[in-house]
């Protein structure tokens, strides 16, 4: 499709534009804003799409304002092998004219003209491509919808080596999609309607099964009914059989009862015979018992008489024995009195010796007390007089030490005088005379002055220095102090003081000792009491000694006294024991005598009784024998025994007969047969009941028309199942077709991509450089651009780059389809975002594309396309509306 000329009249603000386009190559249409550049393309759109009668809003939109004239468009174009001029006016005096010049001249007007053009376009032109190849400023930078273009598809198809794509394929895909959606969801699963069909069919099938089950139940009831009926019929003979058996057993049981009663009578007879035998035996036994008793009584009486004699004799012996014992007791009592007397003497002697011992002790203690009292008195007297004590002694010793020290100091400092006599002579030193032999030496210190007189010879006065005198004074003071203390202590010197202190210590000790001795010996007594006590003891002892009978010797000491006392005590004990033994023997004898007396009395009484008894028994025996002789009794016993034996034999015979009949087994059989009959009756009743119930159920179920319902349900089910299956089959077919078509379409598109990609890259490299790679999506739009190894999604590219790619894509698409006629590429005020360098390169691309097809560049800025080489330039100017009419 090529446009040769576009004429607009009364079209929006355009009064008239008449643009002639380059046959091939680039036409640049230049004009200021609102000069009607964009209207050119729009005019072509409208004339191709809308008949002159159309009042579409797009038509109304191009009505010129302020003039009552219809918008007009005229174009000259080539489509396929047709070349024609086509003019249309809308709204006011609508008109269409068509003049075809090639291949054969043809002139049409009105609707026929419109339809003829549509036909030509449908056959040869690609309006989708025409729309896709337009790039407009101000419209979103969208990529061309090249996948809508048939001619591009054909071109791509041809380039990719496939057969030609069909125009109707997309229609077909839509129809297949519609069919698919009738049954399936977008994910290929059954949709609601299909699912419901299937569920309905399944529900119908379940309903059939339910009815089938109901029929089966009914059939099984019928079968059960039949079985029960047979069973019930079989009861009667079983009953009879059982009853007959019961009758037999009852008869047997009656016979057994008769036998049992016979046996019972025989038993009774045996019992009677037994009793009679017992009686006879009793009689014989009683007789012999009585005889035995009589003789026993006789013997008894004799024995008792003998016994009584013995008892009487014994009693006399006991009497004598008792007298002897009483005498013995008296003797023993006398002996005891004597022993007790001796014991009293021995104990008094013992007391005497004890007192004597006590007095000795007392005396010793008393003496110790007296000595201690004396010692204490002495000590007390000394201590009373003594003036020294430990403290004073200490002070004396201190004073002495002070004196010694003072003297030592003085000694060290004092002037000493050493006299060595060379002859015997007397010398006065310090007023005292010394006799000296030759060689004797006297040394004397001088503290003050010392006068030495060698009588007759000389008087020597030695005086000490002042220091020495002070020291001497100190010594004198110390000495005075010591002496004062000594005086206070009443001691002559220090040693004496020490002695005195020692004595004081010993006296104190003696006093304490005496006190302890007193305490020990006095205990709770005063010395006076002690004396008194000692006095009393002495008196007591003297008295006992005086009073003591001279006959008996007083034991010499305590030990012998003790031994005598012990002996006397033993003698008393022995005597007392003898007395008790004698007393006991007497008591015993007395008791025995009493017992013997009583026994004798009792024997006597018993004998009297027994004699009475004996007489009674004897008379009874005599009477009994008089009644029945002993022989008669023996004979009766023999008769009874033989009678019993006969009865027992009879009974045993009867019992063995009874046992032969086995009464227990018969009773058990009868009980078994009876309960079996009852069970049979129960079973029969139960079966009859069940049968009755079954009949009720069958009567109800049989009237239900189950067969018809089953048939109805089956019919419904089969219809629904067939419908569901048919729909599922259609769904499967639609699914398969859908899948195949889409798969092949996608694959085809993938194949188509390659040539378009190649073309875009070929042109794009001119703009972007040799590193350019583009990747197209299934919709043939650029998905990604790779430049210098960096891949960026189309939507992330800069506006400029996107614009350039949109331009290149259109040019590439146009280039691909140019052989097939193609369509003009229109850039309407585009490429406003591109920098000068890119514009320059794009110019080269546009030039290149112009070689194959028409390129229409509408611009208000002709500089943008200054780099497009060989181009026709058309300038549009804004016009005032002229009153021109077609």
């Amino acid at each position: 499709m090529r446009l040769h000329r576009i004429t607009l009249r009364n079209f929006r603000g355009v009064v008239e534009h008449d643009v002639e386009l380059a046959e091939a190559g680039v036409t640049i249409i230049e004009g200021d804003n609102e000069t009607g550049k964009s209207s050119l393309a729009e005019g072509v759109d409208l004339i191709l799409e809308f008949p002159d009668s159309s009042k579409h809003r797009r038509i109304k939109a191009v009505m010129p304002s302020g003039a009552d004239v219809g918008p007009e468009v005229a174009i000259a174009m080539s489509v396929g092998d047709c070349r024609f001029s086509y003019a249309k006016r809308w709204l006011r005096q609508p008109q269409t004219t068509l003049t075809i010049t090639e291949p054969a001249p043809e002139q049409l007007t009105g609707t026929a003209a419109h339809e003829r053009v549509r036909e030509i376009l449908d056959t040869h032109a690609d309006l989708a491509l025409w729309r896709a190849l337009r790039l407009e400023q101000g419209v979103d930078l969208a990529q061309a919808g090249l996948d809508e273009s048939r001619s591009l598809m054909r071109a791509l198809d041809a380039a990719s080596g496939s057969s030609s794509a069909d125009d109707d394929a997309d229609d077909l895909v839509r129809r297949v999609d519609d069919e698919f959606e009738r049954y399936l969801t977008s994910t290929g699963r059954p949709n609601k309607e299909l699912r419901e069909r299937r569920e309905t069919a399944d529900a119908a099938r379940r309903h059939v099964v339910e009815i089938e089950h109901a029929i089966e139940d009914l059939d099984s009831d019928i079968a059960r009914h039949e079985r029960l009926t047979r069973q019930l019929a079989a009861y009667s003979p079983r009953h009879e059989e059982q009853e007959r058996r019961i009758a037999e057993l009852e008869l047997a049981q009656d016979e057994i009862a008769a036998l049992e009663s016979g046996a019972a009578q025989l038993g009774e007879k045996v019992k009677v015979a037994g009793l009679e035998l017992e009686q006879a035996r009793g009689d014989v036994a009683a007789r012999s018992q009585l005889a035995k008793l009589a003789s026993e009584r006789e013997l008894e009486c004799e024995a008792l008489a003998r016994e009584l004699d013995g008892a009487k004799r014994e009693l006399q012996e006991k009497d004598a024995e008792r007298g002897a014992l009483r005498q013995a007791l008296d003797t023993t009592r006398t002996e005891l009195a004597a022993a007790e007397e001796m014991l009293a003497v021995a104990e008094a002697d013992l007391a005497y010796h004890n007192d004597s011992l006590w007095r000795d002790t007392m005396r010793t203690r008393h003496e110790a007390v007296l000595a201690a009292q004396e010692q204490r008195t002495d000590a007390d007297e000394f201590l009373e007089a003594c003036r020294i004590d430990t403290d004073l002694l200490g002070r004396i010793e201190d004073a002495e030490r002070a004196l010694v020290e003072a003297r030592a100091v003085l000694g060290a400092n004092e002037t000493g005088v050493r006299l060595e006599s060379l002859v015997d002579q007397t010398v006065e030193i310090g007023g005292s005379e010394h006799r000296l032999a030759p060689g004797d030496v006297i040394e004397k210190p001088v503290s003050g002055q010392l006068e030495i007189n060698l009588p007759g010879v000389m008087r020597l006065l030695v005086a000490a220095g002042a220091d020495t005198r002070d020291l001497a004074a100190e010594v004198a003071a110390a000495e005075a102090e010591r002496d004062r203390l000594l005086r206070a202590a009443g001691a002559e010197d220090v040693r004496d003081a020490r002695e005195q202190q020692k004595r004081r210590d010993s006296m104190e000790q003696a006093r304490e000792e005496a006190a302890r001795t007193l305490e020990t010996n006095l205990r709770d007594l005063t010395p006076e009491e002690m004396s008194a006590k000692l006095e009393r003891l002495n008196e007591k002892l003297a008295t006992y000694e005086a009073e003591r009978q001279p006959g008996d010797d007083l034991p010499s000491d305590l030990e012998s006294a003790e031994a005598a006392a012990a002996a006397a005590r033993d003698a008393v004990g022995a005597a007392r024991a003898a007395l008790e033994a004698a007393q006991a023997a007497l008591d015993q004898a007395r008791a025995e005598q009493d017992a013997s007396g009583k026994a004798a009395a009792a024997s006597e009484a018993l004998l009297a009784q027994k004699l009475l008894d004996r007489d009674a028994v004897s008379s009874e025996l005599a009477a009994s024998r008089a009644d029945t002789a002993d022989d008669a009794l023996d004979a009766a016993l023999a008769v009874a025994e033989s009678r019993l034996r006969a009865a027992e034999t009879e009974l045993a015979a009867a019992q063995s007969e009874l046992a032969a009949r086995n009464p227990e087994a018969t009773a058990a059989s009868l009980a078994g047969a009876t309960s079996a009959l009852e069970r049979l009756q129960d079973e029969q009743a139960r079966d009859a009941k069940e049968l009755h119930q079954l009949e009720g159920r069958l009567a109800a179920g049989g009237e239900d028309g189950l067969y018809d319902r089953l048939v109805g349900a089956q019919t419904t089910y089969e219809r629904l199942e067939a419908e569901a299956a048919a729909m599922e089959r259609r769904a499967a077919a639609a699914g398969l077709l859908h899948d195949a078509l889409h798969r092949h379409r996608d694959e085809a598109r993938r194949r188509y991509r390659a040539p378009l990609e190649e073309k875009i890259e070929q042109l794009g490299r001119i703009v972007f450089g040799d590193d350019l790679d583009v990747e197209l999506g299934a919709d043939l739009r650029i998905a990604r651009r790779t430049l210098d190894g960096v891949t960026v999604p189309f939507s992330s590219l800069s506006t400029g780059a996107r614009e350039q790619l949109c331009a290149i894509e259109r040019l590439a698409g146009a280039a691909l389809v140019s052989a097939d006629g193609g369509a003009p590429v229109i850039f309407d005020d585009a490429l406003g975002y591109s920098d000068p360098e890119r514009l320059r390169r794009l110019g080269a691309v546009i030039s290149l594309a112009g070689r194959d097809g028409q390129v229409l560049l509408l611009t208000c800025n002709p500089d943008r396309y200054s780099h497009v080489g060989d181009a026709r330039l058309v300038r549009l100017v804004r016009q005032d509306p002229p009153p021109e009419v077609l």
């Binding site: 059939d219 009914h225 319902r709 089953l710 259609r730 398969l736």
Partner: protein, 390 residues
């Protein structure tokens, strides 16, 4: 006077055929009642003394009240006594239709159920000895049992109370015809013939087989067949037998089948390889009689293009409108629907659509479900693409 009666069986009242259309079904049901009326008319015309129906009078013991009531109404209109034998479909068990309250309440005075083997005098000198089914699955030859009882009875009564003509009324398959050699309930033909030979009975009226059948060589053992067709496999149904026993009972009986049935079940296999075959079949189906009472089961052999398949579908659709029922005989159908180039050329598919078409055509060659689905998909493609033609 010779004994003349009408022998029928297997009325199968209440029988429904789900493959019948919703309009044909009630007519089919009504036809069975109409058969009773035809029997009544025929019995009157022929001077029959009674009608004996040898079992399966009802399709099931569980038929609806309506079926029972209508049947009894029609039976009541038969001018002679009608004796009904319980058969395997309607055995005289506890749930038997003959014991239902509906039946007992509505049974007309001329209708009698043969409930036991006890001989019944159906017309003067003619006695029926029945072998009724008392349960669905008897374990013995019921006919033999009834014959044995009759033998004893005859021995006791010296035959005077029962006779002179005696007709055994039984239901079930005769061993000669039974496919199941172990069926305990099969009627032994030898026993029947023995009894016939001994003059115990003079005619054996059988039911169960839906086609008229003269069993054995005696000419006295007959299946009457169903008076109205019920299924495709019946050879000779739609008839009743008019039976005449001559006074001389040694002479053979006269047995005449009379057609009274109006429905037909037809089963056919047609070759289909071309458009001509289709045209021929269409004409054939168009030209037949009594289409509204004919049930067809059609099988096809051959191979067709998609277009021809569509045509045969149209023919069948049209037949469904005309006939009481049209079923496809799947088991006997071997029809390959092979898409041909001609099916697709006119569609002018190209590009990916053409590729998809090729893929589906390849898939259509596959056996089984996959192939079927692919062929369906192809047919769909033809339809959708065809409808898109300009």
């Amino acid at each position: 006077m010779p004994t003349k009666f009408l022998h029928t069986a297997d009325l199968q009242l209440g029988l429904t055929r789900h493959f019948l259309g919703s309009d044909a079904q009630p007519r089919f049901a009504a036809a069975r009642n109409d058969a009773i009326r035809s029997i009544g008319e025929l019995a009157a015309d022929e001077g029959c003394s009674f009608v004996v129906a040898c079992g399966d009078v009802f399709e099931s013991n569980h038929v609806s009240r309506q079926v029972v009531v209508r049947a009894l109404d029609a039976l009541g209109d038969v001018p002679v006594p009608v004796y009904l034998l319980p058969g395997n479909h309607d055995p005289l068990d506890a749930g038997s239709v003959y014991r239902s309250a509906t039946f007992r309440a509505s049974v007309p005075s001329n209708v009698h159920v043969l409930e036991s083997g006890a001989p019944v005098e159906a017309s003067p000198g003619a006695w029926l000895v029945a072998a009724p089914w008392l349960s669905k699955h008897p374990l013995e030859d019921l006919a033999a049992r009834s014959l044995s009882d009759l033998r004893e009875l005859l021995a006791d009564a010296d035959g005077r109370a029962v006779g002179p003509a005696r007709i055994l009324v039984a239901h079930g398959i005769v061993d000669l015809l039974s496919p199941d050699a172990t069926d305990p309930a099969a009627i032994l033909l030898a026993g029947l013939e023995n009894a016939l030979g001994a003059g115990i009975v003079h005619y054996v009226a059988l039911g169960d087989r839906h086609s008229v059948t003269d069993v054995g060589a005696t000419g006295r053992v007959w299946y009457s067949g169903a008076p109205e067709a019920t299924d495709y496999d019946e050879v000779d149904s739609g008839a009743v037998l008019v039976v005449e026993l001559p006074d001389d009972l040694h002479a053979p009986p006269r047995v005449e089948p009379r057609q009274i049935g109006t429905w037909r079940f037809v089963r056919e296999v047609h070759p289909l390889d071309s458009g001509d075959d289709i045209a021929r079949l269409a004409a054939d189906l168009q030209g037949r009689d009594a289409k509204d009472r004919t049930v067809l089961k059609l099988g096809f052999e051959g191979s067709l293009s998609l277009r021809d398949k569509a045509r045969i579908d149209e023919v069948l659709e049209s037949a469904r409108d005309l006939y009481a029922g049209v079923q496809l005989w799947d088991r006997m159908t071997d029809l390959a629907v092979l898409p041909e180039d001609a099916d697709f050329e006119s569609l002018g598919l190209a590009g990916f659509a053409a590729e998809a078409l090729e893929e589906l055509r390849a898939a259509a060659e596959r056996p089984g479900v996959d192939g079927v689905t692919a062929r369906d998909a192809l047919a769909l493609l033809v339809r959708l693409a065809g409808s898109g033609e300009r």
